[in-house]
Each structure stands twice: as structure tokens, then as C-alpha cells.
């Protein structure tokens, strides 16, 4: 399934800047980024450590706002949204996958996956049904009641992917999703993300240091010193 030509781009950034005040000194993490990611794209962001990849991901994920520049997510200028509006946007259009999984430790896989739906006001029964389906889709239909500590790293990351998927997002943002996994588990996670992109048309934007991971994306954006150095399709 490909998005209709009229659909707005998933992300549209113009001259995005983000600077931090650290000990009175301004650190410019992003120094004017222009980029457009269409819906349904599969993009890898690569670059040296400290180049601003995570900062860019946080902006795209609406966890943070740019110091200057314009960012439109699904055609909506995030500067026009309130705190609650941003939260709603995150909840409905974006799924996050983190390097360190970020699962709630004392909560079952099923309830971890269902969490985004809690903030959407979905009822308990429907949450369970959808969470079970999402876990089954990542091959964890047999791990519903397990807690994070009872699962391998690969399984935990698959739970996190199921959580990103459960709300039918338009985009999945993954910051080094395979960074804490061995090659085999990393490959498995990449298979799921690639399948998601190919089968359901969900745009995937991931940050990685591994060339073989980046190679699976259809577009690679190289970041250096807070700027896009190279954008290769």
C-alpha cells in the first residue's frame, strides 16, 4: 500500500535549529536542517557521535521543539500546537522505539504494549485485544504475561516495537534500535521494521551506526556537526 500522492509529507523541516545552554555556553546541536520525509519512506540517519542525530529524532518525534525553524508533522506546524496537542500528535501518529527499550519493569508485555492506548481513552477490553494482536505480529504471542526481566533483549525490543505499532502510527521513529542487541536479534528487529514499512506503508526513520542496518533503508541521511551532509536514495 502506498500513500496517495496528495498525502502531506510525514515530516517537513525548514532550517531547523536546536541549541542547548550548557554551563552558559550555547551548544548548537542542529545548525539549520532542511529535510522532507514522505509518508511510507524508510530512512536511516547516520553520522558520527554527537552530530545531532538524536536531537533531530526528538524534534521529529515532537518530544522537543526546535529553537528556530519550521517543522510540519503530517502537514501540521508543530509551533501551533499546545503541550496537550503535541502529546496527542505523539500518541496518534508516532511510534517510538528506543535503544534501551524503555519498558515498564513491573508490567506484563501485554500491559506495556497497551499503554499508548490508555492515553487515547481506549477501553480495557479493546486495549487487550489490540495489544495481543500487536505482540502476535512481532512473534511474541506466547509471551503476553511475561515481564521485561523474564525476556531476552531481542524479545524486549520486539515488545517495544509492538508498543510502537499498537496505535497504528503513520511513522515509527527508532533511535539505534539494534544498538543493544547482538547481530541475530538485531537482524530480527530489522526484519520486523522492514516488513512493517513494506506491508503496512508505515514510514520508518531510524538512527544507526551499523552500515548493514543502514543498508536496509531506501534512503540514507548523513548528519555531521548538526547539518545534513549527504542525502542518498
Amino acid at each position: 500500500m502506498t500513500a496517495p500522492a496528495t498525502a502531506p509529507p510525514a515530516f517537513e523541516g525548514e532550517n531547523l535549529r536546536r541549541s542547548y545552554q550548557a554551563d552558559g555556553v550555547a551548544v548548537e546541536a542542529l545548525r539549520g536542517v532542511d529535510l522532507c520525509i514522505e509518508s511510507g519512506e524508510f530512512v536511516a540517519i547516520i553520522g558520527p557521535s554527537g552530530s545531532g542525530k538524536s536531537t533531530l529524532m526528538h524534534l521529529l518525534g515532537c518530544l522537543d521543539r526546535p529553537t528556530s525553524g519550521t517543522l510540519r508533522v503530517g502537514g501540521v506546524d508543530v509551533a501551533t500546537l499546545s503541550e496537550a496537542g503535541l502529546a496527542e500528535l505523539r500518541n496518534e501518529t508516532i511510534g517510538f522505539v528506543f535503544q534501551s527499550f524503555h519498558l515498564l519493569p513491573r508490567t506484563s508485555a501485554l500491559d506495556n504494549v497497551a499503554l499508548p492506548l490508555v492515553y487515547r481513552g481506549v477501553g480495557a477490553a479493546e486495549r487487550r485485544t489490540r495489544a495481543r494482536a500487536a505482540l502476535t505480529a512481532v512473534g511474541l504471542g506466547h509471551r503476553l504475561t511475561h515481564r521485561p526481566a523474564q525476556m531476552s533483549g531481542g524479545e524486549q525490543q520486539r515488545v517495544a516495537i509492538a508498543r510502537a505499532l499498537v496505535g497504528d502510527p503513520k511513522v515509527v521513529l527508532a533511535d539505534e534500535p539494534t544498538g543493544n542487541l547482538d547481530t541475530r536479534n538485531g537482524a530480527e528487529v530489522m526484519d520486523i521494521l522492514a516488513g512493517l514499512n513494506a506491508d503496512q506503508g508505515v514510514a520508518v526513520v531510524l538512527v544507526t551506526h551499523e552500515p548493514e542496518v543502514a543498508a536496509r533503508a531506501s534512503r540514507r541521511i548523513h548528519v555531521r556537526d548538526g547539518r545534513i551532509e549527504q542525502d542518498a536514495r
Partner: protein, 394 residues
């Protein structure tokens, strides 16, 4: 997010940290418990005193020489039987006036002896006080006029000296003088620590000779109704002060006594409750403290929830409910223990304790309010966490 979800999340968080939650609640439990128990004791004491005063009889005015009040000089004034006669004329109805002169003495019957309060009085006692007889008769006018050595015993004196034997018509000695028992009062209990069941009433004339006194301690008057009390009080005081120029006399009514004692006890209860309130406040600070610790510990969780779509309001609600739940559960436990403790105190100690609905409702309301008040700061801190920084936190 629905309220139900927020509630479930909060109970889950409290359940996970069971021990910590219990310890935090402890402060609130103690505070609420103290409020409930102290209010119960204060109310119980007030009720007890009020029923003691009411138990004396109704519409009573007590006349004593001098001025009543803190800091009043010791009086030189004296009341005598002639003054009582004067008061009788002022009142108009002699049967509504009685006198008393009292002294502690030992009373003997054979080998038995008892320390009793000898009260010299007259035949008008039953017209003014609630003093029902168990047996025999009251003192009579003739007893007083002819200075008879007859006695009416309080119930405890009777049982101490005579046991199961019927005392009526039997002899007892006070300071070597023989008295004949003519009546026994029913048990009436104590008033202001005065054990009225340990009293022995004898004619006032007999008592003055026995004790070697010419004065009396006081005069009691029974008004015909509440409306008569105040004018009667003024009339009697005026009559006495006219008779003894330059001297002062006081007449206290039951209503005045009730008012004075009520306000003293009310103040005492207020002070105790305030002290208990402080311990509740300390409990609230404990809740605030633990919630701040909890927010810090769960920084990553908060960041994650925000990334997944939680609004500031959702996070605020979650932590606020947690704090309110802590204090409310603590409050309910405190109320239960407090009510139980008050009932126990009332049952096994001489201290009276009365549970009032308002104190229970107040304690509940205050524990909810303490949760909101002390939960707001930690909950706001949680709600305002920057999600990026929170997700990075260790």
C-alpha cells in the same frame, strides 16, 4: 485518559511499594487517630460535666459569700442562718430555699467506719435537687427546729457501714455523737469530683453545733422556671448586699456553670485538636517527601509515558491520585483505629470518650485535603518534566 485508569495506575504504584506506602501512611494514621481520639475525649468530658450539672436538678441558683472569679480576694463575708431566712423572704417561697454547711468526718457503726462528708441542711433538699430516696424519709422541718440527731445517708455510706442490713432506725456515731438513720438516698454519682453518694445529710442546726460553727457555706435556691432564674438571682444578691453593706455575694446559675465549663473544655479540646492537627501536618510533609522521591525514581517512566502520549494533565492526575490515595487510606485507617481506641478508652478507663460524626467526617475531609495539598508540588514536578531529559535519566 480516563479517571478509572489513573486510579488503577495509582493503586498499582502503591501496591508495588507496599512497605514504603505503609510507612508513609503511618504518619497520616497517627495524626488522624490523634484527632479522633482527642476530640472524642474532649466531647466526652464536656458531655459528662454537662450531665453532672443537669443531674443536680433544674433551674438551681447557688449563693455563696464573696466574688467568684480568678484572682478574687479571699472573702471576709459570712452567711448565716439569718441570711437564709432573709433570702427566703426575698424569694417569697421558703420551701424553694435550702442551706448547706459541710465538713469531712468519720462515721462509725460498730467496728465499721467510713470517711464521709457531713452536710448540714434542711427539709427543702428534695424541692430543689434531684435527690430521690431509696428508703426512709428526708429530713423534716421538726428535725431542723428541734436540732434532732438524725441522718439521711448517701448510698455508698449506707452500704459501707451497714452492708446488707437495713439501716433505717439504726444508730451511727459522728465525732462521738449518736445519730439515728432515717433515710437512705439512691445512688446519684459524682458532681465535679464531689462523691455525692458519700454524703450524710443531717439537720443544719445539729451540724452547726456538732462542728462548732455559726456560719453556713451556701444557700441553694430553686427557680420555678428558666425565665425566673435571672431576676431571682439579682433579687437575692441585692437583698444580701443590702443586709451586709459593703460586702459582696455571688449567685451562680447552672447555665453560667455550663457556659463556663463548656467554654473551658471547648478551648482545651481545641488546643488538643490543634496539636493533633500538627502531627497530621507532619504526616502530610512525609507524603510530600515520599512522592518527591517517587517522582525522581520514576523519571524515566514519566518520560516514557509522555513519549507515548501522556499529557501534563495525565501525569499530574496520576501522581496526585497517588498522594490522595495514600492520605485517604491512611485517614480511613486512622479513623477506624481512633474510633476503636476511643470506645476502648471509654469502656476500660474512667475517662469518658464520645465519638461524634463531625469529627470523623472532618478527619476524613482533612486527610483528603492533606493529600491534595502535599501531593500537588510533587505531581506538578512530574507533570513538567522534559520528556527528552526524563528518558535520558538514569
Amino acid at each position: 485518559m480516563r479517571a478509572r485508569e489513573a486510579f488503577l495506575m495509582a493503586t498499582e504504584a502503591l501496591r508495588v511499594n507496599r512497605l514504603r506506602s505503609a510507612l508513609t501512611m503511618f504518619g497520616v494514621i497517627v495524626g488522624v487517630l490523634a484527632v479522633v481520639v482527642l476530640v472524642a475525649i474532649g466531647t466526652g468530658a464536656k458531655d459528662a460535666v454537662e450531665s453532672e450539672i443537669a443531674g443536680l436538678g433544674s433551674n438551681i441558683i447557688l449563693v455563696v459569700p464573696g466574688q467568684i472569679g480568678v484572682g478574687a480576694l479571699p472573702t471576709q463575708s459570712r452567711l448565716g442562718l439569718a441570711d437564709a431566712a432573709h433570702v427566703r423572704r426575698a424569694v417569697g417561697d421558703p420551701s424553694r430555699v435550702t442551706v448547706s454547711v459541710a465538713s469531712g468526718e468519720t462515721m462509725r457503726v460498730g467496728r465499721n467506719e467510713a470517711f464521709v462528708t457531713i452536710t448540714g441542711t434542711d427539709e427543702n433538699i428534695p424541692n430543689i435537687f434531684d435527690r430521690p430516696l431509696a428508703k426512709g424519709r428526708h429530713l423534716s422541718e421538726t428535725d431542723v427546729d428541734t436540732r434532732r440527731r438524725v441522718a439521711v445517708l448517701g448510698s455508698e455510706v449506707a452500704s459501707r457501714l451497714f452492708g446488707d442490713i437495713d439501716p433505717i432506725g439504726r444508730q451511727a456515731t459522728i465525732s462521738g455523737a449518736r445519730f439515728r438513720v432515717v433515710g437512705v438516698y439512691e445512688t446519684v454519682g459524682a458532681t465535679f469530683g464531689v462523691a455525692r453518694d458519700q454524703e450524710v445529710h443531717i439537720p443544719v442546726t445539729t451540724a452547726q453545733r456538732l462542728l462548732g460553727l455559726s456560719r453556713i457555706n451556701g444557700i441553694a435556691i430553686g427557680a420555678t422556671g428558666p425565665d425566673e432564674i435571672e431576676p431571682l438571682r439579682r433579687r437575692v444578691v441585692a437583698a444580701l448586699e443590702e443586709r451586709h453593706p459593703g460586702e459582696r455575694f455571688s449567685a451562680v446559675t447552672q447555665t453560667q456553670l455550663l457556659g463556663t465549663i463548656g467554654s473551658v473544655l471547648g478551648m482545651l479540646t481545641g488546643v488538643l485538636t490543634a496539636i493533633a492537627g500538627i502531627s497530621l501536618l507532619v504526616g502530610g510533609v512525609g507524603v510530600s517527601n515520599i512522592m518527591l522521591v517517587s517522582v525522581r525514581e520514576r523519571t524515566r517512566e514519566i518520560g516514557l509515558r509522555k513519549a507515548l502520549g501522556a499529557r501534563q494533565r495525565d501525569v499530574l492526575t496520576q501522581f496526585l491520585i497517588e498522594a490522595v490515595l495514600l492520605t485517604t487510606i491512611g485517614g480511613v485507617l486512622g479513623i477506624l483505629v481512633g474510633v476503636g481506641g476511643s470506645l476502648l478508652i471509654d469502656a476500660v478507663t474512667p475517662v469518658p470518650a464520645t465519638i461524634t460524626l463531625w469529627s470523623v467526617l472532618l478527619a476524613f475531609g482533612v486527610s483528603v485535603a492533606v493529600g491534595v495539598f502535599f501531593g500537588v508540588a510533587p505531581a506538578r514536578r512530574a507533570a513538567r518534566l522534559d520528556p527528552v531529559a526524563a528518558l535520558r535519566a538514569e
